[in-house]
């Protein structure tokens, strides 16, 4: 079991530039079922993906793959022709919000947006547009979602993952890889790893992911990785206190971050004295979460949280 994506996921790719093509190819090499792409000026053509199979992904496949993926002019047409049930967006920032809304309008259940640098007001409008609609948005500015050996959507290195029993949710891409790699090495493995992204306005949040992991019978514990800025971690801590039945470990980045400076991610900023790492760590610890002192201790923190539970 897993959450959000699995072997039945039928993926659409929006944005087939060099970057999008490269990572769509990695997903296919991993064994993800990529069924369609959308690109207005290449509609009617097929995108060809060919290479060596990534055997860390879906098991029992030939060493070589060659896939011809049809390209459509619109998302609606792509969905009608291929039954895609998830989409990944690599569209450049000025056009990404429109790409998300197009996917929402086509009622794609899961929209994963990798694009970094979407204007905040565009995302404010996207969130307004999504009210009352059925789609779930993950991201933007995130590494994507992966269920090991079943489905890779996004830009993460596939080989560090291993199917197992821990759910991972994170605002940071590279710190997700740190957590995943430690879980692979200590044998716990992952059910699903979700990057929710580093922007101040995003789709899926910590509580959404904690809820899904709490309800997923295969997930036996969760690692959540937060950072300075906003109050999503504090809200998650409140939710954990009253609802979470499974052990949670965490890491919060930015203990040494200076106030008022944006630390790379658009959302990683301590403003008006709010959103400090210390506040977040205190909130999580008061909810019984084991907070790792350094990212290298995340795997151990998970083991400790399981032991305590």
């Amino acid at each position: 079991m897993s959450v959000l994506v699995n072997k039945d996921t039928r993926l659409l790719v929006q944005g087939l530039g060099r970057f999008g093509h490269f990572h769509a190819d990695k997903s296919i090499a991993y064994g993800t079922n990529v069924v369609a792409a959308v690109h207005p000026s290449k509609a009617g053509q097929t995108a060809i993906f060919e290479g060596e199979t990534d055997h860390s992904g879906v098991p029992n496949r030939a060493d070589h793959y060659k896939e011809e993926v049809p390209i459509f002019a619109t998302v609606k047409e792509a969905v009608a022709k291929t039954n895609a049930n998830a989409t990944v967006i690599f569209v450049p920032p000025p056009f990404a919000a429109d790409a998300i809304m197009e996917a929402v309008e086509a009622e794609i259940p899961l929209i994963i947006t990798i694009t970094e640098g979407i204007p905040i007001m565009d995302m404010v409008k996207v969130k307004r547009y999504m009210e009352g609609k059925s789609s779930r948005l993950v991201g933007p500015n995130c590494p994507g979602v992966i269920t090991p050996h079943e489905c890779r959507i996004g830009i993460m290195p596939g080989y560090i993952h291993k199917a197992g029993k821990i759910g991972v949710v994170s605002r940071s891409g590279t710190l997700t890889y740190e957590a995943v790699f430690q879980l692979t090495n200590n044998g716990l493995g992952q059910t699903t790893a979700i990057g929710i992204g580093g922007d101040p306005v995003n789709g899926t949040n910590f509580i959404d992911c904690l809820t899904m992991f709490n309800d997923d019978p295969e997930t036996k514990g969760v690692i959540m990785i937060g950072e300075i800025g906003g109050s999503a971690e504090e809200e998650a801590a409140e939710w954990i206190k009253t609802n979470m039945t499974k052990p949670v470990a965490a890491f919060i980045a930015g203990t040494t971050a200076p106030k008022g400076k944006r630390m790379g991610h658009a959302g990683a900023i301590i403003s008006g004295g709010k959103g400090t790492a210390a506040d977040k760590i205190a909130a999580l610890e008061s909810a019984g979460v084991v907070v790792a002192q350094t990212p290298s201790d995340m795997g151990d923190a998970m083991l400790e949280a399981i032991k305590k539970s």
């Binding site: 906003g230 203990t255 658009a266």
Partner: protein
């Protein structure tokens, strides 16, 4: 991106928002020349001389060179002595302020050099209020915050009397609704002419915030004049960097002299760099990992010299530039390269580090931790380079090693 007060007011004026008359001056002569036209146009014999720097707390700030002198000065001399007396006082103030270093609560002890002054008409103030528009991250919408406690820092109001802060969330599909503007204006105690003027001010400003992609608009104080007009006496605006592509006029307002030179240089190479005070230079991929690397250095007893995220699309050239920026900091006693390759490939980083060291030399210890995409190729490049590099198995190990070596 931050801009100066005079630029924020120019933008507000363009949008039809009431601001006092004012003129920018970069020399004493320009400051003096601004006085007469201002007094004549406004009919008010008071002028104000305001330091223009990218930091708040200017009024309460003091100059290093003139400890008695504040960053914002109200010139009353014109009331008795007429225009000439006002000019003489502005001349005296401008010659002291220009080129001197203003220290405020936000500049840090080193302060900031004042190179620009804004000379503004005096205003007969009946009431001082507070107004800001910021993103409410929980609601994913802009929110107007207003308070009767003008002139006071909003954090202090929030702490001491949170009930005095009024809030209205802006629906992006509608904009601030009239009834919301009305509720805010009534809550601020406005009536008569001021109520009308205040509502218009609120509606215009909230539309401008959305149209200009502001990150923050803060007007403190917002004033009601004795004539009943609501006006922005101060104006602070910053913008969403990611939206500047559609605001070329605002992007052109950037004042690089207000920014750290190393940060500006890093920006040219697409690097996220923030200068800090410690001695361990860090070169990392990914914002979260870069922050966590700083935290880990601190955790094992060191102090980070910088935050540096080379980003996912970095080339060998970018990495070389990053390495040079770090080594140019004389405080740096050791460098920690910490890479978990996802999009970023380890061999690209390794290539960049090797190139940089060959170009600029290396006088301090270097610890490298590589993991992730193309890790084997990356390690091979480092091993075969002949450089004196200490390898680390994970990030904590790397942090411990570099802190030890840099002692």
């Amino acid at each position: 991106m931050k801009i100066h007060e005079f630029q924020a007011k120019e933008l507000m004026k363009q949008k039809g928002i009431a601001v006092p008359l004012g003129k920018l001056a970069t020399t004493v002569e320009e400051a003096v020349a601004a006085v007469k036209p201002l007094i004549e146009a406004s009919g008010n014999k008071v002028v104000v001389v305001k330091s223009q720097i990218h930091a708040g707390g200017r009024g309460k700030g003091r100059f290093k060179e003139y400890p008695e002198l504040g960053g914002v000065n109200v010139v009353l001399d014109g009331l008795k002595g007429g225009i000439e007396a006002a000019e003489a006082k502005v001349k005296e103030l401008a010659s002291k302020m220009l080129g001197s270093t203003l220290v405020t609560i936000q500049t840090g002890p080193e302060g900031k050099q004042v190179n620009k002054l804004y000379i503004e008409q005096g205003i007969d103030i009946a009431k001082e209020l507070y107004l800001s528009i910021v993103l409410d991250r929980i609601q994913s919408r802009n929110t107007v915050m207003a308070s009767t406690e003008g002139g006071t820092e909003i954090e202090i109001v929030a702490e001491e009397s949170p009930e005095k802060i009024l809030r209205e969330t802006i629906d992006p599909a509608i904009g601030l609704a009239s009834f919301q503007a009305n509720r805010l204006a009534l809550g601020l105690g406005l009536s008569g002419e001021a109520l009308k003027s205040g509502k218009k001010f609120l509606l215009t400003l909230s539309n401008a915030a959305a149209a200009l992609d502001t990150d923050l608009v803060e007007i403190n104080p917002l004033v009601v004049t004795k004539q009943g007009q609501v006006m922005a006496l101060d104006g602070k605006m910053s913008f969403d960097d990611n939206a500047l592509f559609r605001h070329k006029d605002i992007a052109a307002m950037r004042d690089i002299s207000e920014e750290d030179p190393a940060e500006v240089k890093a920006g040219e190479y697409g690097l996220n760099f923030i200068k800090l005070d410690g001695s361990i230079g860090c070169l990392v991929n990914g914002a979260g990992l870069a922050m966590a690397t700083m935290d880990t250095i601190k955790h094992v007893g060191g102090e980070p010299a910088n935050f540096l995220d080379v980003g996912g699309g970095a080339t060998t050239e970018n990495v070389t530039a990053a390495f040079k920026i770090i080594t140019e900091d004389p405080n740096v006693k050791g460098i920690f390269v910490n890479i978990f390759g996802g999009i970023m490939q380890c061999d690209v980083i390794a290539e960049g580090v090797v190139t940089a060291v060959k170009e600029v030399g290396l006088d301090v210890p270097l610890v490298v931790r590589l993991e992730g995409t193309n890790v084997k190729a990356g390690r091979k490049i480092i091993d075969e380079s002949g450089l004196k590099v200490v390898s680390a198995v994970d990030m904590k190990d790397g942090a411990q090693k570099i802190v030890e070596l840099a002692k």
